[in-house]
Symmetry: C2
Subunit: 216 residues, 2 copies
DNA sequence: TAGATTGTTAATCGATTAACAATC
DNA sequence: TAGATTGTTAATCGATTAACAATC
């Protein structure tokens, strides 16, 4: 256990991958896993997995590997997914409504409990089979408090994204933001994660294209 | 110009950020930009920007900076967005239909021209204002050829994602995949980019949570 | 015990940053 | 010319990997 050391930033994303793989192995009825097997499945070196886990404690047993149940628990404690997080999504467009319906998030305890929009025609409606209500952005802080929302999602066009971020971080309960708008967001006192779909497509065509005409 | 050197992998994503910022500055009526200003806007060191660009050529002018028009052109050549890419999305669920409607992609030349699904009730319908048709997955390779699709998107549940990836890469025209399913995908001969929404949420709560109960 | 696999140290690798000569 | 800013080299920083003693 070397939990006094600084944790490299790529570790956070890898922990989520480990957790997902552990769940798959548990569902397959397995009891134990070695860093070697986990690594083979995820195309990650076994020494990297052992090092990543060692930042948070010694979860394994020499000679036999990691118990899947206790590893799952440990990872959930580390990432804060041993609980429910209530989410408010600003922007009831394509992406916002897709998130409200998305099973993948709910399964991990991320629960979209409200959408917000400035379009009066959308306000008052509900979205999807989970019937998530759409509120007016004017009610943002009020509803965030009422519904115990701690995570805000920005799903509005780029030009409104920064002002939505400012409004969200103004509500005392908000602890983090996930930004889907294709623009750089500045925040204070609040964690931020970007999901940049168009950047992913551009990265892909960069790799396909070979970097430059005339290069390989 | 040091285009014979290996390009660090984080460069691809940063180029997309530079491009976006250059477009914003052009829209604001500017003519030139320095690496310093670009860096300040994106929270990236100016020396990093100069180094990133230098892999592909000398686009700047000492003393004055970079001409926005020619920098934009250069970046579009590098990333292959000086053209249209036709996209086929497998999975006409929440995420698939959101992508078919997403303006942000179309604006950069990524055009969703077909959705594919195995659900007979969805096949034959069209989606959104752009009226993107839904075809049966049985017709995958046929339509990919017919519609000049070069990029496949995986927007199906995790358990089907690998088999969809295999089917897509079996079609000769496919050059790259974007995977939205929360699972690791294995490919041959084809570029792959993951957009992992639930991993982003877990990274966020990891940061909020502080890494571990009892840690800070 | 013998075999397997962890946790951790030290070595390596790769990416970022600072510094500065070149030059507009 | 003097001032500004590039392109590039060399130094630094941080993350990954190999190696191995500890131990189940």
């Amino acid at each position: 256990m070397e939990s006094n050391k600084k944790i490299p930033s790529p570790v956070a994303k890898r922990l989520a991958l480990y957790h997902r793989c552990v769940e798959t192995l548990l569902r397959a009825g397995k009891e134990m896993v070695s860093s070697k097997e986990l690594g083979d499945r995820l195309s990650i070196k076994s020494s990297q997995i052992r090092k990543d886990l060692s930042y948070f404690g010694g979860f394994g047993k020499r000679g036999t590997g990691y118990n899947l149940h206790s590893l799952k628990d440990a990872l959930e404690n580390i990432m804060g997914i041993n609980r429910t997080w209530n989410i408010g999504v600003v922007g009831a467009g394509n992406i916002g409504t897709a998130l409200a319906n998305y099973e993948g998030l709910l399964k991990d305890g991320y629960k979209v409990v409200a959408l917000f929009d400035k379009n009066e025609k959308k306000v008052g409606k509900v979205v999807g089979t989970r019937r998530v209500p759409i509120y007016h952005v004017n009610e943002l802080c009020e509803k965030i408090k009422e519904l115990s929302i701690e995570i805000g999602v920005i799903a509005v066009p780029a030009e409104y994204a920064q002002s939505v971020a400012d409004k969200l971080t103004n509500c005392a309960e908000i602890k983090g933001l996930v930004n889907f708008a294709p623009v750089k967001i500045y925040t204070h006192h609040v964690e931020l994660e970007d999901v940049d779909i168009s950047v992913s497509f551009k990265s892909l065509t960069f790799k396909i294209w070979g970097g430059f005409l005339g290069r390989k």
